[in-house]
Amino acid sequence: MVREILRNLSKDFSVEFRTRFALNVSIAFAVTATVSVSLTAGGVPFPSLVQSILLWMIIFFSAMNGLSHIFVREEDQATALFLRITMSADSIFISKFIYNQSFMMIVLAVVTPLFLFFLQVKVILISYFVLTILSGGLSIAAGATILAAMVAKAGGKGSLFSILSFPLLLPVLWVSIFATKNSLDGARPADYNSLVFLLAFSGFISAISFLLFRFVWIED
């Protein structure tokens, strides 16, 4: 199983980085959105809550531009059937899940510094801020993987992925926005409930997705 996962991961990375289509679209969206907000603001600093909301909206929609691509591409290029007969559903889910997590980390690594630079955001609790961004990104990618598989079966129809993901991932955005605001304000939490929630949500949604994936993937 481990060998299957590694083989599929290596294939996914090779195919994606040959064209870098999904990555380019996500990063282009992130840069455009961040620069547009900064231009519109004209250098006027936003309150920390508005900054947190903008940061998470840009992260979310940048990720939405690319996270579904991993399954949509398999259907578009008609390689899904080949995958289905050569690998177990569990290996496929795990490899796609790891791929999406890696993709999300790249998006976060690009979006966050850009946002901090263009909107002149000052982070007071740096470690808490970084942990919040990482945990929030982890949760978004965890929830989006199974939804990407569903959307691919529906023909990968444009905005359907965002429509499906947004309400289901709203608890993640909700908690991440408030945790980010606290890190910008320097309000150190007595306990790290927000981070615990984000990690627990990732674990929970990953477990449910893993169980459901075989139903979505395997065709009779």
């Binding site: 199974i146 939804l147 569903m150 079966k153 529906a154 023909g155 129809k157 359907l160 429509i163 499906l164 947004f166 309400p167 289901l168 709203l170 608890p171 909700w174 929970f204 949604i205 449910i208 997705s209 459901l212 139903f215 979505v216 065709e219």
Partner: protein
């Protein structure tokens, strides 16, 4: 058999609940007669959550029922989700009216209001997904998988969020002393109303499922005649 009894009880319970709500139950001290909307708003919200839970359970049954011993479970889950959606909308409307009368505005982004909006968005997304899958033979499986995911996130919105964040809503389910603060007659009326609306839900779901069975049979006969 039990379901038939529940459905039949609707004919008695619903008129009884309406009479009790307007004639028997006392009005609340501060809110006055406005408070009578509780006998409709709370049961509507309860039934919407129940309908969404039933749709999730039917979806899980559909995925595990490989031999299709129980026909059209995915369509029945869709029926239940549709009823849940209608009841949730009515709960939002009655809630908004009540909010206007007590808090002064129709919408306040209270955690419970936010939760119900998110739940509505989740099920709107489900209906969009099903529309996108029209004519696809994987429609049942994918729609059911999404309904299970939706059901799993319901507890966060229904139970957790309103208790984590400060809310304007009275906490009638769990207070610090763990008892609902309602007069006995008010409590009885609310209970009867909850039963009445639950039986209404069972009645509508039963009707929709029967209509579904008829439609499927007609479809089969049409294809057989070809």
């Amino acid at each position: 058999m039990l379901i038939r009894q529940v459905i039949k009880s609707f004919y008695i319970l619903m008129p009884l609940a309406i009479l009790m709500a307007f004639l028997w139950a006392p009005s609340a001290e501060i809110l006055g007669d406005f408070s009578r909307i509780i006998y409709f708003h709370v049961p509507l919200a309860w039934v919407s959550v129940l309908a969404f839970l039933v749709s999730g359970v039917l979806s899980a049954a559909y995925l595990f029922d490989k031999k299709q011993r129980y026909p059209w479970l995915d369509e029945k889950a869709f029926n239940s989700a549709s009823i849940g959606m209608a009841f949730a909308l009515l709960a939002v409307i009655t809630g908004s009216l009540w909010a206007k009368l007590t808090w002064g505005s129709f919408w306040n982004w209270d955690p419970r209001e936010t939760s119900i909006v998110v739940i509505l968005l989740i099920y709107i997304a489900y209906f969009s997904l099903r529309s996108a899958l029209a004519g696809n033979d994987r429609r049942g499986v994918i729609g059911s998988s999404y309904l299970i995911l939706a059901m799993m996130t319901l507890p966060f919105f229904v139970f957790l969020a309103p208790r984590i964040y400060d809310s304007l809503h009275p906490e009638t389910i769990i207070n610090a002393d763990r008892t609902p603060h309602l007069d006995d007659r008010m409590r009885m009326t609310l209970l009867i109303s909850i039963f009445a609306f639950t039986s209404l839900y069972a009645y509508i779901l039963h009707l929709m499922n029967r209509a579904l069975a008829v439609a499927k049979r007609l479809e089969e006969e049409y294809h057989a005649a070809d």
